[in-house]
Amino acid sequence: MADTTDQIPERIPINLVVNGARRTLEIAPWTTLLDALRDRLELTGTKKGCDHGQCGACTVLVDGRRINSCLTLAIMKDGAEITTIEGLAANGALHPLQQAFVDHDAFQCGYCTPGQICSAAGLLAEGRARDADEIRELMSGNLCRCGAYPNIVAAIEQVMGRS
């Protein structure tokens, strides 16, 4: 990608692989990944809570790692692989975390849930949590205003094969 020059650029082409599909879009440099996903790609499963890195509702996986999409510029992720909540189910079956959240009633309003599940997917890939305290600590970047925390931890423990 070329540098932007004198004119303030509003439409710069970038490529993203979103949930396995290659997507090309033209964006302004100040577009966050969250806004690109929601407003441009119409993937509204990823939620905007605080827009400041303080709630985790916008959590997605970039190249397999969980990040806050509200504090990420889309242009900086040109070429990256993005997984959102819409990309977790495979072949018509829910992702084990999605199923576990249903099994454990790990939500109430559901607004934080896509972020919780993407964050939990990142947590499992990292392999650092071994008990409930460590799950709680390493999921602390995802707030739940409905207070479904005990059930969220139980759902993640189920997928970790611990309960």
Partner: protein
């Protein structure tokens, strides 16, 4: 967020050139602090120089047995690196005490050192703030100052530096490597951040057009007797009210070397060599630790709401030194304070 130009730096020299060409350009790495501040219109860069793809991601052993850590190593990768876990667990612990797993995946070492204060007035462009708008005054002096500094303050600013990582780096005696238009230099971590004096808008001694390329850890990691204790309003995902990095070298119960740094209390990680010297040769007892805490907190002053920090810091220092002496470092996951 303001509109801006965007450039992806091709190498360190390119980043320096782009910065030098435009005084209101800013580097961006993880973006977790800069984008937040841009959304609040606190930072309004004309150009972002994206350094996130530069090859500054290595963790290498140095000739003297220390480690050199590239400026773009993500905070989480650093905390979980086997050499850090084994040889510098104080650093790993401090990093894991900060932010959230997602943010640590994004945040870079260089960006962490450069993160700006969390003073609410600094964020609120409708209020006076000498750090954000030099000469307008400090709203915190007689305002909401519960989270503010008790050491090294000035009439111009009483903000704290929010970094946990820097507190451990100060205790460990880390170095900061930089590159700029006039070449490369090395700055001791303890000289990297500034006190506010009458220029609170200048956080660090990094020059304009200068970029952090790496940090370096000296060989001695204090892996046996260390602890990082962070006291905050909620147990995770919150900035420190007070934090303590403590490291000891013990011969039996006698202290050989001691390192002590405080976070959340000043405009920079707070170290005082007198407090450390007073511990040398002493027995590792609460009394001696209390005396070191008094020395470390000498000159502490409070504003209307943050007086509690002085006693909190004193007790936290004693507790953290006990944890270090007993080789029972504070766990960042299991929250009980040993």
């Amino acid at each position: 967020m303001n509109n801006f130009q965007y450039s992806r730096a091709s190498d360190v020299a390119d980043a320096i050139r782009l910065l030098a060409a435009d005084p209101s350009a800013k580097l961006i790495a993880g973006g977790t602090n800069l984008i937040d501040l841009m959304k609040e219109n606190v930072e309004r860069p004309s150009r972002l120089v994206d350094i996130s793809r530069l090859p500054l991601r290595d963790i290498e052993e140095t000739a003297d047995g220390g480690l050199r850590i590239g400026a773009l190593v993500p905070n989480s990768d650093l905390a979980y690196h086997p050499l850090i876990e084994q040889r510098y667990p104080l650093l790993a612990s401090a990093i894991l005490a900060g932010a959230s797993a997602q943010l640590r995946n994004m945040a870079s070492v260089g960006g962490n050192l450069m993160q700006r204060t969390r003073c609410a007035y600094f964020y609120d462009t409708a209020t006076p703030c000498n750090k954000r708008s030099p000469g307008t005054g400090c709203s915190a002096l007689d305002g909401l100052n519960r989270n503010h500094a008790i050491l090294g303050t000035s009439r111009s600013c009483i903000a704290t530096n929010p970094s946990d990582m820097s507190v451990a780096l100060a205790a460990l005696g880390a170095l900061v490597h930089t590159a700029g238009t006039t070449g490369q230099r090395t700055i001791a971590l303890t000289d990297f951040h500034r006190l506010p004096d009458d220029k609170p808008h200048v956080d660090t001694n990094l020059g304009s057009g200068e970029i952090i390329t790496a940090i370096e850890l000296p060989p001695h990691g204090f892996a046996r007797n260390y602890s990082y204790l962070k006291v905050r309003d909620r147990l995770s995902y919150a900035f420190a009210l007070v934090s303590v990095a403590a490291a000891l070298e013990l011969e039996g119960n006698a202290i050989g070397e001691a390192r002590l740094a405080l976070g959340g209390v000043a405009h920079k990680p707070w170290r005082n060599l007198d407090a450390e010297a007073a511990l040398r040769g002493q027995a590792a007892t609460p009394d001696h630790f209390g005396r070191a805490a008094d020395l470390l907190l000498q000159g502490a002053t409070a504003r209307s709401q943050n007086g509690f920090k002085i006693e909190l810091a004193r007790r936290a220092v004693v507790r953290t030194l006990m944890q270090a002496a007993n080789a029972t470092p504070q766990s960042q996951a299991h929250k009980k304070i040993a």
